[in-house]
C-alpha cells in the first residue's frame, strides 16, 4: 500500500454530528436495494418469468388445447400463477440475501452500523421485497393472459380490490420471506426449498381453487396455514370473481393478520441476529 503524496487531510472530524432523520436513512437504504435490483433486472425478469411462463404454456395453453382440462380451468389457474410469481419474487429478493448476509458474508454490517434502529433496516428489506413482488405480478399478468388467450370470467373491473390484494399479498410474502431468511442458516437452504417452498407451492391453491378441496375436508382446513392460499384466493376474487373463492373480507383479514404476525416474528429474530 502506498499513501499518495496528496496532502489533503485524509478525513476531517465532523463536530457536532447533527442527527439524521430516520426517513432519510431509510430512503438511502431503499435506494441501495433499488440500485442493486436495477443492475440485476435481466436476471430478475428471467427468474420471475420462466417458471410461470412454462406453467402457463403447459397448463393454460397445451392441456386445454389437448382437451385434458375442463373449460374454466384457465380462470382458476391464471390468478394462482400470478400469486405464485408474486410470492416467489418477494421471497427470493429477501430470503436468500438475509441467509447469506447473516450466516456467511456479514455484508449487511454497513447497514446495521447506519444511524437508524435495526428494526427499520428489517422493515426496509420488507418494503424492497414488496416492490419486487408487485413488479413480478405486473410483468406476469399480461404475459400469462397473452399466452392463455381469452380467459372466461377474467375481468379488470375490480381494480381497488386487485390493488388491495396485491399490496397485502406482497407484504405477507415479503414478511414471510424475511422471517425464513433470519431463521435458517446457509446449510439449511436445501431444506428450505424441499420442506417449506415446495409444499407451499403445491398446497397453496395456486393450481386449484380452495373450494375444490371440499372433497378432502381435512386438507381444506390444513392448507389454511399457508399464506399462498389467501394470495391465490384473493387474486381469484379480484380477477376472476365468478370462480368459487373465499369471502373477500376473510382473505383481507387473513393476509393482514399474517403480515402482522410474520413481521413481528421476523423483527424479533432480525434483532437477535443483528445484535449478536
Amino acid at each position: 500500500m502506498s499513501v499518495s503524496a496528496v496532502q489533503a487531510p485524509i478525513a476531517t472530524i465532523a463536530n457536532p454530528h447533527p442527527p439524521v432523520p430516520a426517513s432519510r436513512v431509510f430512503v438511502a437504504l431503499l435506494s441501495r436495494d433499488f440500485r442493486v435490483a436495477r443492475r440485476e433486472l435481466p436476471f430478475f425478469l428471467i427468474r420471475t418469468i420462466m417458471q410461470p411462463l412454462l406453467f402457463v404454456i403447459v397448463f393454460g395453453y397445451l392441456l386445454p388445447k389437448m382437451g385434458f382440462t375442463q373449460p374454466g380451468y384457465q380462470a382458476a389457474l391464471l390468478p394462482g400463477i400470478l400469486a405464485l410469481s408474486l410470492l416467489l419474487a418477494s421471497m427470493q429478493s429477501v430470503t436468500l440475501p438475509m441467509v447469506t448476509d447473516f450466516g456467511w458474508t456479514n455484508e449487511i454490517e454497513d447497514r446495521l452500523l447506519a444511524p437508524i434502529r435495526v428494526e427499520l433496516v428489517a422493515i426496509e428489506k420488507i418494503v424492497n421485497a414488496m416492490v419486487q413482488g408487485i413488479i413480478a405480478a405486473a410483468v406476469v399478468l399480461p404475459l400469462a393472459r397473452l399466452v392463455m388467450g381469452p380467459v372466461a370470467g377474467f375481468t379488470f373491473s375490480h381494480v381497488p380490490e386487485l390493488v388491495l390484494i396485491v399490496v397485502l399479498a406482497a407484504a405477507a410474502a415479503s414478511a414471510f420471506g424475511l422471517l425464513v431468511g433470519v431463521l435458517i442458516s446457509p446449510q439449511q437452504i436445501g431444506f428450505m426449498f424441499s420442506l417449506i417452498i415446495t409444499p407451499m407451492i403445491f398446497f397453496g391453491c395456486a393450481y386449484y381453487p380452495w373450494r375444490g378441496l371440499d372433497v378432502i375436508p381435512w386438507l381444506k382446513y390444513a392448507v389454511l396455514v399457508n399464506p399462498l392460499v389467501y394470495i391465490s384466493e384473493g387474486l381469484r376474487a379480484a380477477l376472476t370473481p365468478s370462480m368459487p373463492h373465499m369471502p373477500f373480507t376473510a382473505i383481507v383479514a387473513a393476509l393482514s393478520f399474517l403480515t402482522i404476525a410474520f413481521t413481528w416474528a421476523a423483527l424479533v429474530r432480525f434483532r437477535m441476529r443483528a445484535l449478536g
Binding site: 499518495s4 465532523a14 463536530n15 439524521v20 437504504l29 450466516g103 456479514n106 455484508e107 442458516s185
Partner: protein, 271 residues
C-alpha cells in the same frame, strides 16, 4: 481530559443456546472463540470490564484469542447487546442511544465485509448516504479517501476484484467517510504484508494527529507498542493491566511487550 468511552462493570454472557442457532456461526462481533458450541454451557465473554478511553487517545486492546477483545468492540459499536453494566461512547449510551453512538463512530472489522453487490465507489457513496451526507459531498470525500488510501484506480471495480489489502483499505475509507469522532479497528493489519502494514500505520498516525480517538485490537505486539498511547490487556473477559506501552514494558526483565503479554496472560499472542 474528557472521556470518549466509559464502561462500567460491562458484562457479556453468551447463553448456552447461542451456539445451536444460526445466529452464532458467523457474526462479526461474536467470534467462534467466544460462542459456546451446541450443547455447551454459557460462555462469559466479558466478566466485568471497567475502562475509560480519553478523547483523542490511541487506545490498544490486547489479549489472547477468546479474551473478549472483539466482544468489547462489538458492545462499544452497538453491535452486541451487553448482559449487564453500561457503556458510553462519545457521550451516548450504547444500548439506549445506539443510533446516536453509530452516528459518531467508524468501524473497521477484522474481516473485510464490503457490500459485494456494489463497486468500491458505490460502497462509499451509499455508506455516506446512510449517514445523511449529501451526494456531492460524499463524492468529494470518496475521491480524497480513495486517493489517500492508494486505491483511486479501483473505484469502479467490483469489490471481489480487489485484493485482501485493498478491501481492508476500502473498509477504512468506509469507516471514515461520515467523519466519525471515534474510530474502532479490530485487528486491522491481519493478513497485510509489511509494506501494507507500514502504510496503514502511517494513515492511523495521521488520523490520530487530527485528534480522533482510536480504539484498536491487535495480536501484534510491535503494532500496539508503535501506535498506542495506552494499552489494555484483557483475558477471559477481565482487565489484567492498563498503562502506557513504556510502563508495561518496564514490568518485564527484557523490556518487551511480548514478554509482558506472555507473563500476564499465560499465553502467546498468536495462541
Amino acid at each position: 481530559m474528557t472521556p470518549a468511552i466509559v464502561t462500567e462493570r460491562l458484562r457479556k454472557v453468551y447463553p448456552a443456546t447461542a451456539g445451536s442457532g444460526p445466529g452464532a456461526e458467523s457474526s462479526t462481533w461474536a467470534p467462534a472463540g467466544n460462542v459456546p458450541p451446541r450443547g455447551a454451557a454459557e460462555t462469559v465473554a466479558l466478566e466485568s470490564l471497567d475502562l475509560i478511553v480519553n478523547e483523542g487517545e490511541f487506545f490498544g486492546l490486547i489479549g489472547p484469542n477468546g479474551a473478549g477483545k472483539t466482544t468489547t468492540i462489538g458492545v462499544l459499536t452497538t453491535r452486541v447487546l451487553p448482559t449487564n453494566g453500561s457503556a458510553h461512547v462519545a457521550g451516548a449510551d450504547v444500548v439506549r442511544q445506539s443510533v446516536t453512538v453509530r452516528q459518531r463512530i467508524g468501524v473497521v472489522p477484522q474481516r473485510p465485509n464490503p457490500d459485494r453487490s456494489l463497486n468500491a465507489w458505490e460502497n462509499l457513496i451509499f455508506h455516506a448516504a446512510y449517514f445523511g451526507v449529501p451526494r456531492s459531498e460524499a463524492g468529494r470525500r470518496a475521491t480524497v479517501l480513495l486517493e489517500r488510501l492508494g486505491i483511486a484506480d479501483k473505484a469502479r471495480m467490483k469489490v471481489d476484484q480487489l485484493s485482501g489489502g485493498q478491501q481492508q483499505r476500502l473498509m477504512i475509507a468506509r469507516a471514515l467517510i461520515h467523519e466519525p469522532t471515534i474510530l474502532f479497528l479490530d485487528e486491522p493489519t491481519v493478513g497485510l504484508d509489511p509494506n501494507a502494514r507500514n502504510s496503514l500505520w502511517e494513515i492511523l498516525r495521521e488520523l490520530h494527529r487530527q485528534g480522533r480517538t482510536i480504539v484498536m485490537t491487535t495480536h501484534y505486539m510491535p503494532e500496539a507498542d508503535e501506535l498506542c498511547d495506552r494499552i489494555a490487556l484483557i483475558d477471559r473477559g477481565k482487565l489484567l493491566a492498563l498503562d502506557t506501552p513504556e510502563n508495561l514494558k518496564r514490568q518485564t526483565p527484557d523490556g518487551s511487550l511480548e514478554t509482558f503479554f506472555i507473563s500476564r496472560s499465560g499465553r502467546r499472542s498468536d495462541a
